[in-house]
Amino acid sequence: MNKCSCHLTRIAYIIVLKIQISKQGLEHMKINIRNAARYAYGLVAGIVFAVILLPFTTQLAAAAQVTSRGIEMSTSAASATSVSYSVTFTPATTVAAGGGIVVDICDNDPIIGDTSCTSPAGFDWGGATPSLTVNSGMGSGWTAAGVQGGAGAGKSQVLELSASTGTLTAATPANFTITTVTNPSTSNHSFYARIVTFDTAAHMSNYTVSTTTRASSFSGEVDYGGIALSTASLISITATVQETLTFCVSGTDLTASTCSSATAPTITIGNGTPPTLETASVDTANAYTQISTNASSGATVRMKAGYSSCAGLSRDSGTTCGIPGMSNTSAAAMSSGSSSGNADFGLYVSTGTLSATGSGSSVADANYHNASHTTIPSDLWYGMDNTNVTSTYGDVIFATGSSPAPCSLVNNQLVFAATAALTTPSGVYSGTEALIATGVF
């Protein structure tokens, strides 16, 4: 036992001794010293214990800390508006109907009772009437009764909720959302919330607010708790997808490959050796296209004749047009020259087919495709709009969809057909057809 505690015991002993003397008189001067000492020890221990416990019991009776508390923000971007703050906490103490909740946003700390609460620049609960949604654990009847404080005109810092019928139940998580919050204007910045529950809505007025000064204690306080939040810089990533249009014409089918495998589309129409056009038949030859584009409005493909005044084939570079185009605007059957008496040159365009990894579609123009006559090559209808094909931009032969759209690796087969009339002069007839793809981005 140290010196200090010995003195304390002696003082207590004397006090007890005096009490016993006064109560029992001088005839009881024979005091049991051992009992008195025992009483003294007990009394001192009790006093010390009570003194130690006093502040704790007082504090517990006054308020307890809410647990599992947090505020989830819908975005952490600085100065973001219409932000939702989902406030969750588990009360330690039940608050009956008519109670209140204060949520104070401070820039310096979350400590309830700290008389300083600076305003986070730019923060606002949502003006005078923040929009409140009660989610769970609180019953109904809660309203955003008022706001106070704030960093600047029109800003609010202290949110006050009151309930006519709603309650808070001990150990039951409560959750509500304010959807009208404006975040603090500083990025990567910590700020805090102080939550205090009150037994009555009227007692919320005890949470006095004067600019950045708060009361250190509040009559009617039930529970309390601090929360930390943080804004953060917005991440902004930019990437560019450029306009693409890949189109090729090939002498071989590209369905199983890509434009890199395209061959020169130099085709010869006729039969026999050397190939010749006959009047009794319609001869054909094939070319193939493949198109890919990310144009948002797809692409169209037009055909333009190499001769300005001949949509068909010529033996003198377009001066004369010995085998002219069919000159129709809707696909039609092509009869042999011997039966029709005419030399004709026409084109059939198939419906697009996709390569293995392709997507999208292509639709042939009605002038070059009849859905009832698509068997290659025995049952095809052909077309050739002589006017358009010889015009500046040519004639549309297909597009990437009925409502043109982006496509990838779409393949079309082009079947060129020709027949000679009985009067068609002999010679080598040729023609050049330019296929032009145009994307609308």
């Binding site: 601090g226 917005l234 693409t244």
Partner: protein, 261 residues
């Protein structure tokens, strides 16, 4: 007189022992940033505020700690909880979220990825860090619509909502928070100053190498207890197909950290 001398001597010895315990810390026996340790345990100590240092002066064997006002706190953590100790422990909970943190990898990394190609995967990186004190942990969520193009008919890149590998030529957008090899990008979360202080980790779905994922509002990282700074490197992948509409695609992402106290 003899008893008094004995008491004074004992007090002196105790004082010396305490003084030595607090001011002389063996350097070689402890791992980095642990101020005291035995063969099996170590005590980590951190210092907040001005006017002091945990290891202001070190010889080859000892470091001297200096402080003003005992503003420092120490901590020790189990699997679920951390304890803060010290003469003047900080009673203020904190949550610090920093996007583009200079102490983390990929600081000030470019966020303009240039032109995307259907022939190759384009990657990008940013970082963020989180520190949470006196909390029951934290959750970090991503908020933001996947990259969307400008123009009259905006197109949003297809997000890997279920997670998946990066495939060039297929329209994809995703991210994760770990080191990858296909493509070679990213880094695992780094605890600052070491794993005795930080405990944050990438969340499920974002913690598997070479698997990328994105869902708006989804948790991407978390810690189940108070944690020192954890640096997260976010890796993004962009893949486009031949039909991905042209345009300038922008991804505005908010990193939202929420602590439960």
């Amino acid at each position: 007189m003899r008893r008094k001398l004995l008491c004074n001597s004992a007090a002196l010895i105790l004082g010396i022992a305490i003084a030595v315990g607090f001011t002389a810390m063996p350097v070689q026996a402890c791992s980095n940033n642990q101020q005291s340790c035995s063969g099996g345990y170590g005590v980590s100590e951190v210092f907040f505020g001005n006017g002091g240092s945990l290891d202001s002066t070190c010889s080859s064997h000892y470091c001297a700690k200096q402080s003003a006002g005992e503003a420092g706190v120490g901590g020790t953590c189990g699997t679920a909880y951390c304890a803060q100790a010290g003469f003047n422990t900080d009673r203020t909970p904190s949550l610090t979220l920093v996007v583009n943190d200079s102490q983390c990898a990929y600081y000030n990394n470019g966020v303009n990825l240039g032109y995307l190609s259907p022939n190759a995967t384009t990657t990008g990186n940013v970082n963020f860090s989180v520190e949470s004190y006196l909390a029951g942990g934290y959750v970090v969520k991503t908020v933001g619509t996947p990259p969307t193009s400008n123009g009259p008919t905006p197109h949003t890149l297809t997000a890997l909502t279920g997670g998946g590998a990066s495939t060039a030529g297929t329209e994809q957008f995703g991210m994760n928070l770990v080191a990858n090899t296909a493509p070679s990008v990213g880094a695992d979360p780094v605890q600052k100053p070491d794993t005795t202080f930080g405990f944050g980790q990438a969340a499920s779905g974002y913690n598997t190498p070479n698997v990328f994922r994105y869902n708006n509002g989804e948790m991407i990282a978390h810690s189940v207890k108070s944690s020192g700074t954890t640096c997260y490197a976010v890796s993004y992948i962009f893949n486009i197909s031949g039909t991905t509409p042209d345009g300038v695609y922008t991804f505005n992402q908010a990193i939202v950290a929420t602590s439960t106290f």
